[in-house]
């Protein structure tokens, strides 16, 4: 019995000495408590219609979700909308009508260049809608897509 205890203590000492399986955990703070919080972010890709920039989803203090585009640039076109799609990412030449992808309409694209915000309808499940798309409704053409990742 004593031998077993000694053995266990020895093994424990070895584990501590070599740091096996031990983890150090840190918890620095952001000082961002009293502000809108960035939940998800990603960058646009799009070759057929050159699209670039960043898409970030913020949660306001009252819980409302807002999509913000920054450093944003795409080609101007007819009937272009900002939508969320229920997919991890989208091909540059994706046709969401053909592939029958579930989507949430946010608004018409306010401008093809510059920083802009879009309200996201309450109850939108962000664990399902993982990609922002700049989408030409008239020709079912995806101008660019930004897959989202946790910020």
């Amino acid at each position: 019995m004593v031998r077993e205890i000694k053995f266990a203590v020895g093994v424990a000492a070895l584990v501590v000495a070599f740091g096996l399986g031990s983890s150090v955990y840190a918890q620095g703070n952001t000082k961002q408590e009293d502000n809108a919080k960035a939940l998800e972010t990603g960058t646009f890709h799009g070759k057929v219609h050159q699209t670039s920039g960043r898409a970030t989803i913020y949660q306001e203090q009252d819980g409302r979700l807002v999509l913000r585009l920054t450093h944003f640039k795409t080609s101007n076109g007819p009937d272009v909308h900002v939508i969320l799609i229920a997919a991890k990412d989208a091909d540059d030449d994706a046709n969401f009508l053909k592939s029958d992808v579930e989507r949430v309409e946010l608004d018409k694209l306010k401008g093809n260049e510059g920083d802009q915000n879009y309200d996201i309808p309450a109850g939108t499940d962000l664990s399902k809608f993982r990609t922002v798309s700049i989408y030409c409704e008239r020709f079912n053409a995806n101008f660019g897509a930004a897959p989202l990742q946790k910020f």
Binding site: G19, S22, S23, V24, Y25, A26, Q27, G28, N29, T30, K31, Q32, D34, N35, A36, A38, T41, T43, R54, T56, Y58, E60, V66, R68, T70, H71, S75, N76, G77, P78, K110, G111, N112, E113, G114, D115, Q116, N117, R138, Q149, K150, F151
Partner: protein
């Protein structure tokens, strides 16, 4: 045939105009070709007070190299101009003499797990912990256009644990 066709067209100018003009208008409305040259610029303010709290400038996802490493690396700037690196959802393996560095994403040393020559980097400090959210102050003069990658690096054995390329937030 061509002669009689063009003759028919001249004799029926009204019909040609009546069909052709609406077709042209419809084609213009559908394709809006003038938008190829006309840009529409917007500049909306962010949906939050941008001057009272630290703002992210750059961000990127960490990927493991020699050891599984994941999480997000972001560079923040405080309202008074100080910059710091923040790791979130961070996890890597624990190890000896592990440091956090800024390096150049195009550095050939970073394509391998083992760094052979000297790594051109900016030391930010010893890794505070192998898991969890943590902040590292940046020296005042660091050029983030040049040093655009975050490296979790074991100084003792010159091993790259993990790497994140930074992109503008």
């Amino acid at each position: 045939m061509t002669r009689s066709a063009s003759g028919w067209l001249t004799n029926h100018k009204g019909i040609v105009a009546g069909v052709g003009v609406p077709v042209l208008v419809l084609a213009w409305w559908l394709f809006r070709p003038e938008k190829l040259w006309i840009n529409k610029q917007v500049n909306e303010p962010p949906p939050f007070a941008a001057n009272s709290v630290p703002q992210p400038l750059y961000t990127g996802l960490l990927a493991g190299k020699a050891h599984p490493t994941s999480g997000r690396a972001s560079i923040y700037q405080t309202p008074d101009g100080k910059r710091y690196l923040r790791l979130t959802d961070f996890t890597t393996s624990n190890g000896p003499d592990v440091h956090v560095l800024l390096a150049r994403s195009d550095d050939q040393n970073l394509t391998q797990e083992l760094v052979k020559s000297d790594l051109d980097g900016v030391e930010l400090g010893s890794l505070k912990a192998n898991q969890g959210d943590q902040n590292y102050d940046l020296p005042d003069a660091v050029d983030l256009e040049k040093y655009d990658a975050v490296v979790v690096y074991c100084e003792r054995f010159h091993v790259v644990f993990g790497l994140a390329s930074l992109e503008r937030f």
